[in-house]
C-alpha cells in the first residue's frame, strides 16, 4: 500500500511515515499542497491522508487537486480541531475522518479499509 501524508507540521508527517514503515506501509510525506501535488504527479498513491486545515491550500481543496491528477486515489482527513463543523465537512468529503492525536493501529486499519476493493 502506498500512502501520501500531508500536514503542515513536518515533525508529525515525518514520524508517522517512519511508524507506518515499521508496519509495512510505504508512506511519503509533504508539508504543503504544492509539494503534495508534485509528488502525486511523480507517482501514484493508493490513499492520501490530509490535514483539513493548512496554510495556503486547505485539505478540502487539496483533495480536489489530487483527484484531478489521480482520480482513483482514496482520502482520509485528519484534524486537530475535532469541531462539529470539521466532522461534518470531513465526513462528507472523505472516506474517513480521524482526530489528532492519532492511534497508529486505528490509522493502519482505516487505511486498509479505505483501499480494500
Amino acid at each position: 500500500m502506498k500512502v501520501l501524508l500531508v500536514d503542515d507540521e513536518q515533525e508529525l508527517v515525518v514520524t508517522l511515515a517512519e511508524r507506518l514503515g515499521f508496519r509495512g506501509v510505504d508512506a511519503k510525506w509533504a508539508t504543503t499542497g504544492h509539494e503534495a501535488v508534485v509528488l502525486a504527479r511523480q507517482e501514484s498513491f493508493d490513499v492520501a491522508v490530509l490535514d483539513v486545515k493548512m496554510p495556503r491550500v486547505s485539505g478540502i481543496q487539496l483533495k480536489k487537486d489530487l483527484e484531478r491528477i489521480r482520480p482513483d486515489m482514496k482520502f482520509v482527513f485528519v484534524t486537530g480541531h475535532g469541531s462539529e463543523e470539521d466532522f461534518r465537512i470531513g465526513s462528507a468529503e472523505a472516506a474517513r475522518y480521524l482526530v489528532k492525536p492519532l492511534d497508529i493501529d486505528v490509522l493502519v486499519e482505516t487505511l486498509k479499509q479505505v483501499v480494500a476493493p
Binding site: 515533525e11 508529525l12 514520524t15 486537530g80 480541531h81 489528532k100 492525536p101
Partner: protein
C-alpha cells in the same frame, strides 16, 4: 453601554468572550498539534524498542534524536500554555499598571497560528524596553488582538505585519503596519473603530491611521481609575 440583540448581555462582554474564545480555540488547536507530534514520537520510540527486542540492531542516535524532539515539543506546548495563562490572568484586575511592550509580545504570540494560516507573519519593530501604562490589561490585549486580527485577515499573501509600541505623554501607542510596501495594513480605521466602539470608549483609546507611514495607530491613555475590581 449597548446590549447584544439576543441574550441581553452587554455587547462589550460578548465581544470579550468572543475574543477569549477565539484565543482559547486557537491555542488549544496548537496544543493538540504538539500532543499529536509527541504521541507519534513516543510511538516511534516504542516501535524502535520492539525492533530491538526482535534482534534488530538500533542506531542509538535515532533514539536520542526522538527523545530530544519530544522534549522540544513539550517545551513548545508549555510556552503556548503559558501565553494563554497570561492572557487569562490579565482579567485579574480591571485596572493595573502593565508593560505594554510585554502585552504586545503576548498578543503577537497568541496570534501566531492565525497569522500562519493567513500566510502572514507578525514581528516586533522598534526598540525593546518596558512601556508602563495604567489601563485595563485584558481590554488592551483585546483591542490589540482585534486590530491584528483584522490586519491579518486583510493582508496580502506572504506579507509581514509589524507591531511597534511606544510611550506617549498621555500613555502609550501601538502601531501596526506592513514590513513590505508602503500601503496601509489594509484596515479601514473608521470601520474598525466603529466595530470596537464600546471597547475604545471604556479604554479611553483612539484608533486612527497614520497617513505618512500607512500604519494603524492605537492610542491608549493612562486610566485615571484606581478601582482594581472586576471587568466593566
Amino acid at each position: 453601554m449597548t446590549r447584544s440583540a439576543d441574550d441581553g448581555l452587554p455587547s462589550l462582554s460578548v465581544d470579550c468572550l468572543r475574543f477569549f474564545g477565539a484565543m482559547s480555540a486557537s491555542v488549544s488547536h496548537e496544543i493538540r498539534n504538539k500532543l499529536a507530534v509527541i504521541n507519534e514520537k513516543a510511538g516511534l520510540v516504542e516501535d524502535i524498542a520492539i525492533a530491538m527486542k526482535s534482534g534488530r540492531v538500533p542506531d542509538p542516535e535515532r533514539l536520542e534524536t526522538q527523545a530530544r524532539k519530544i522534549v522540544e515539543q513539550v517545551r513548545e506546548a508549555n510556552r503556548i500554555v503559558r501565553s494563554l495563562n497570561r492572557l487569562a490572568h490579565s482579567t485579574d484586575e480591571a485596572v493595573a499598571t502593565v508593560d505594554l511592550s510585554a502585552l504586545v509580545d503576548l498578543v503577537i504570540e497568541l496570534y501566531g497560528r492565525k497569522a500562519a494560516m493567513a500566510q502572514a507573519t507578525i514581528s516586533r519593530r522598534g526598540p525593546a524596553g518596558e512601556i508602563p501604562v495604567r489601563t485595563h490589561p485584558f481590554l488592551v490585549a483585546h483591542a490589540i488582538g482585534s486590530c491584528l486580527g483584522t490586519a491579518v485577515s486583510r493582508v496580502d499573501a506572504s506579507h509581514e505585519l509589524t507591531v511597534a509600541a511606544e510611550r506617549t505623554d498621555a500613555g502609550a501607542r501601538v502601531r501596526i503596519g506592513r514590513l513590505v510596501g508602503a500601503a496601509a495594513a489594509g484596515v479601514d480605521p473608521k470601520h474598525h473603530a466603529a466595530d470596537l466602539g464600546a471597547l475604545l470608549e471604556v479604554l479611553g483609546a483612539e484608533l486612527a491611521d497614520d497617513a505618512e507611514t500607512g500604519e494603524l495607530v492605537l492610542d491608549i491613555r493612562h486610566s485615571k481609575s484606581h478601582d482594581p475590581g472586576g471587568l466593566p
